[in-house]
Amino acid sequence: MMESSQNIPFMTRKELISFAVLAALLFLVLPSALDVFRLSLVGKYLTYAFAAVGLVLCWGYGGILSLGQGVFFGLGGYCMAMFLKLESSDPISTKIQSTPGIPDFMDWNQITSLPFFWQPFHSFGFTLFAIVAVPTIFAFIIGVAMFKRRMGGVYFAIITQAVAAILTILIIGQQGYTGGVNGITDLRTLKGWDIRSNEAKVVLYYVNGGLLMVALFVSQYVRTSKLGRILVAMRDREDRVRFSGYDVDAFKIFVFCLAAAISAVGGAMFTLQVGFMSPSFVGIVPSIDMVIFCVVGGRLSLLGAVYGTLLVNWAKTSFSEAFPSLWLFGLGGLFIAVVLVFPDGLAGLYNSHAEPALQRGLVGLRATAKSLMRRLKTA
């Protein structure tokens, strides 16, 4: 029984075990059970999990539903893609182009010099900075514009959806500068290291997993800090929090930007693992998919978001292989089912069914062990 007047610990013992189980799954079980192809597929799914984790903070705790997380995922991914593309577009490899030294799609679109906003992406350091900074600044602008005007709830969700649509249209329309509907493809090396080789994919999987754990720890810290409690308070009674002297808008902007930054890291890792980035990960459809991963996990559970992402994506791949036309029925049905029947998602199911069963099992085990010990002693 947790005494309320103690500090809420960063992680209770139960949570520590859950985190350890996830870590074991990601770093030990899956790599030994799966071949490189499937492992890297899981790695791809885990990048979506970044966005879902961000949504747990921003939506589950903060009550801010964003239907545009694809925007930040995509911005992070595009930053990384731009760096990788420039690396493989050095003047020597591209000497057959009309203008060597620029990416192939620019050449196809009769562009003759590298646009100014591509220039800084020659530097890896800048790219790393941009992956986090650009989406965060973008989120900040949206947040300031919306939250200061007290636009929340459904209106905010619709506007984020519109932003996702706008960015997609922009990227597709400006194909000379962005690679258009095909995106930025044919990415080969990161600082000379071939990212397409099998060993690279394994390394990237571990790096991705590691970054995801970091994101989870950061989110856990925020969740258990006073800020986390204020988010919950704000979600229920925003006026009261405001009248307790809190600048509620600043808190909303913070959590929205944090979710954006986390999603962006996922996007960058996606580009590295999959080898391309396109507008099909930026728009309305992928953004809502990210929301469903979060919902399936149980919107308030960080680990649930990861498991939800893995589950839905695994189902998608399996179904698409076996029954391609049924998949959309399944996904649509999943949306409806989770909202109507399982609003607490996987975490809710775990808490109400799996955990009590586990407890009973553990108790039974302990009792059996004790009686065994007694018998051994008296023997």
Binding site: I288, S325, G332
Partner: protein, 309 residues
């Protein structure tokens, strides 16, 4: 004197024709937005499947066209009216079912309604794909609807466009009459403004909700019929306009139907005018950005009543 290579007279004609193209777009927006304004603005329900209801109406029209061509070619000249009525009924029925099985449970949770209706839209898209194939299908128009009408020497006006616009005005007028002059409309407005009181006054709020939702979906069905006259239909047609439609409703001030119409007009005109000078995608981007920008300055939309917060 010329501007960008066009004479003044030419420009005027171009703007007039572009304006007319904008009017067709305005009609589609209005019909879609009217239904959504009723559902979202009046009932507070977010229906992400509204575009798919429209597509259902379009597919119904396509089926009608097909059947008439096959079994009753003598009716071809007037089949369109019959198709629209059928679209209204079919989509109304679909809407009714949706309200009963899904929306009814989620009235207090608008964000969840959003997700559930998005799921419905996916299911409906897949249904269209399975029933009608993934490729676009077109509707053949009867002879009297085809071709253009020469307003002046240089301005040509497509007849199907005129038909759609007249239709839109008729339907908008009918909706206003229904909402503000009929008993049912009065009851509907009462329920959305004060549900408990309406119930206490003997209005069957459940039934009103159902019929209102069904009615709005029926209008979307007619929008779909109209849509077939200006473009072909594919399973993803519904997705084309859903974001715009929501913005139109919010921009117009979700509570006001007049605002919805005004908003549909301004947005469609801005977009089609821009389309002439810029590429199609940039025109859309700029239009959406302008709308969002204005919404940020005035979040309540164009028409709003000032009330104590």
């Amino acid at each position: 004197m010329t501007i960008a290579g066009y004479s003044i007279g030419d420009l005027a004609s171009v703007l007039a024709m572009q304006g007319f193209a904008g009017l067709i777009l305005f009609s589609v927006f209005t019909l879609m937005a009217l239904g959504l304004a009723i559902i979202f603005g009046q009932m507070g329900v977010v229906n992400m499947a509204h575009g798919e209801f429209m597509a259902a109406g379009a597919y119904t029209t396509y089926l009608c066209c097909h059947l008439v061509q096959k079994f009753a070619p003598f009716l071809f000249g007037i089949y369109f009216f019959f198709a629209m009525a059928l679209a209204f009924v079919v989509c109304g029925a679909l809407g009714y079912a949706t309200e009963v099985y899904m929306v009814r449970r989620l009235y207090k949770r608008p964000l969840d309604t959003l997700l559930a209706t998005w799921g419905l839209s996916l299911v409906m898209q897949q249904c269209f794909r399975s029933l009608f194939g993934a490729r676009e299908v077109g509707v053949s128009l009867p002879g009297w609807l085809m071709g253009s009408f020469n307003l002046t020497d240089t301005i040509q006006v497509p007849i199907n466009g005129l038909f759609v616009m007249t239709l839109t005005m008729a339907i908008t007028g009918a909706v206003f009459l229904l909402l503000f002059r009929s008993r049912w409309g009065c009851q509907m407005r009462a329920v959305t403004q004060n549900r408990p009181m309406s119930g206490a006054a003997g209005i069957n709020t459940d039934r009103i909700d159902r019929y209102t939702f069904a009615f709005a979906c029926g209008i979307a069905g007619i929008a779909g019929s109209a849509f077939t006259m200006i473009g072909s239909t594919s399973p993803t047609s519904g997705q084309l306009y859903i974001v715009d439609t929501f913005l139109v409703v919010v921009f117009g001030g979700a509570q006001s139907l007049l605002g919805t119409v005004a908003s549909a007009f301004s947005i469609s005109q801005v977009q089609s005018s821009l389309e002439f000078f810029l590429s199609g995608s940039m025109a859309k981007v700029i239009t959406l950005l302008v709308v969002i920008g204005i919404l940020m300055l005035r979040p309540q939309g164009l028409f709003v009543l000032k009330v104590r917060r």
